[in-house]
């Protein structure tokens, strides 16, 4: 960490610029002066964009929304690390004090066949939505709201489910995986529901369909490199991948359909 309030930094950026999904992109170099160490990474890009607009150039497109690390929209490959050098931190929560004055940063979009670049640093993550659509839900009868604690859930199960549910779907796992696999995302969604009683009736079908959709989207396979776990801003554990593997094995071999597994524990 260097720099403090009052001092400003000079940062050199190499940013991937790509007009649209069809055209080829290239890296463009920008010098950004007067960067406050207190700026977030995205604020630094905002400042650069303001200057670009002022010069009549097209601003750099990047995804962002809540800017408080909970929505999963932002995500940049910064110097070869998804979400940059701070562990357990989204790009929006990364601050320029994590860099040194004069640093040269290479900013790339997530790279995966299933995440086509739409423009500059924006990728299409609809593949994640389709994985969720394939089974990342529980079917419930709607009607009168049930009592909050009607279904009792053991503390350890609730904790495990919550740890998995912390996934914000940013796609850093895919970006960091040497195989471009979405195993961590898919596993988090499968085991989030798999830890809970509400997730049991559809558990086998969920595992089967979600992994089928994962594969269909063109994501790679898990080779247990653990890169995803290392960059995940929500610190989702690869223990979820092991649980997904158990579910997929059961779902595609011994489980005839969900009848056999409904109401089962973990």
């Amino acid at each position: 960490m260097s720099g403090n309030s009052g001092k400003t930094m000079h940062i050199k950026l190499q940013v991937w610029r790509q007009k649209n999904a069809q055209e080829k992109g290239a890296f463009v170099t920008y010098d950004v002066s007067d960067v406050s160490p207190d700026m977030s990474f995205l604020e630094m890009l905002d400042v650069l964009n303001e200057r670009l607009i002022h010069k009549g150039e097209a601003p750099i497109a990047f995804d962002h929304d809540c800017r408080e690390g909970i929505c999963g929209m932002c995500g940049l490959m910064i110097n070869g690390v998804a979400h940059g050098p701070m562990a357990a931190t989204t790009t929006c929560q990364l601050h320029m004090r994590s860099f040194k004055d004069g640093d040269e940063l290479i900013i790339e979009p997530w790279r995966a066949r299933a995440f086509p670049v739409l423009r500059d640093l924006v990728v299409d993550r609809a593949a994640f939505d389709r994985i969720i659509q394939a089974g990342g839900y529980v079917s419930v009868r709607t009607g009168t709201a049930r009592d909050a604690n009607e279904t009792r859930i053991a503390k350890q199960d609730a904790d495990a489910a919550f740890d998995a549910a912390a996934c914000i779907g940013c796609g850093a796992c895919v970006a960091a995986c040497p195989n471009g696999s979405a195993s961590l995302f898919t596993a988090a969604k499968i085991s989030h529901l798999g830890h809970l009683p509400q997730g049991q009736p559809e558990r086998m079908r969920r595992a089967r369909n979600m992994i089928a959709q994962h594969d269909k989207e063109g994501f790679g396979a898990c080779s247990n490199h653990r890169e995803c776990e290392a960059v995940c801003p929500k610190q989702i554990s690869i223990a979820n991948i092991a649980m997904m593997n158990r579910d997929v094995i059961r779902a595609t071999t011994i489980a005839e359909d969900d009848k056999q597994t409904s109401g089962g524990g973990m």
């Binding site: 790279r111 009736p201 223990a239």
Partner: protein
């Protein structure tokens, strides 16, 4: 919920469809995939076949180490194996099947994995992976080539150019490893096997879903320990032969040099 599901299946499921085809997700037809059709399933098959070969390797290493117990011991072991056709051929068939599936599904996944990222990063920094994991697709084929050579050398006796005995496997090994390039090649391949196993042994547990917070650290330790035993055990053989600690059996018999210490019937020095 169940009623809804039953209605859905009755409404859309094609009658007598063996793969239980049903329509979900706004018209997307989803087939119930078999295990080996999923990335997870392919990995599971790679893991299981890996475990089979790993189990064989442990036995093979222990068998090899009998060379330190003298020619008659390891030759008897070899004779035992060759006279137990069911064991010998059973092992060969299982291993051939395992290695075929292991290679087939590894290649299938390797293709899928490289297709998953058509445009590489300009900068990429590994955060957690290691050399062993990154080089699995390279150590694998080299080990496969080594196995072919190893079988050509000590099973088919087609290489290298020295007289091979059908019964004296001890001498076959000792004369072979007295050739420096051959011994070096074996040692190099054992080190590669070590990296392959270091990642593979840990990885198969994860792929098969063997994961528990209390024992997760143990997985790395087990992988490192067993790999270490196999690699050190196997490398110790060419090293001992090159260092002259393990000598050809004929030489051992001829060692009737009066200046040497007392010998047993095979000419080995006995402790006294």
């Amino acid at each position: 919920m169940r009623t809804f599901e039953a209605f859905f299946l009755r409404r859309f499921c094609l009658p007598n469809c063996p793969s239980r085809t049903y329509i979900r997700n706004e018209g997307v037809v989803m087939h119930a995939l078999a295990l080996h059709q999923t990335t997870v399933g392919k990995k599971v098959i790679i893991a299981i076949t890996g475990v089979i070969m790993f189990g064989f390797l442990i036995g093979h290493t222990l068998g090899n180490l009998q060379i330190f117990m003298g020619p008659e011991k390891i030759n008897a072991y070899s004779e035992f194996l060759h006279h137990t056709a069911s064991l010998l051929w059973g092992t060969r068939v299982v291993l051939l099947g395992a290695i075929s599936l292991h290679i087939y599904f590894s290649m299938s996944l390797a293709r899928q994995n490289s297709a998953a990222r058509p445009i590489a990063y300009k900068a990429r920094k590994d955060q957690a992976t290691n050399y062993a994991a990154r080089t699995m697709v390279w150590s694998g084929p080299i080990i496969a080539a080594f196995i072919v050579y190893h079988l050509a050398h000590l099973t088919a006796h087609v290489t290298p150019n020295y007289t091979m005995s059908e019964t004296n496997v001890y001498d076959n090994l000792v004369y072979g490893f007295q050739i420096p390039w051959l011994a070096s090649f074996y040692i190099f391949c054992q080190l590669l096997l070590g990296t392959h196993l270091f990642h593979g042994v840990w990885s198969f547990m994860q792929s098969l879903g063997i994961n528990h917070p209390r024992y997760n650290n143990l997985r790395r330790i087990i992988a490192a320990a067993v790999t270490g035993i196999i690699v050190v055990g196997n490398i110790s053989i060419p090293l001992a032969i090159m260092a002259g600690v393990v000598k050809p059996s004929a030489e051992l018999v001829r060692a009737d040099d009066p200046t040497a210490g007392p010998h047993d019937q095979l000419g080995r020095e006995t402790m006294e």
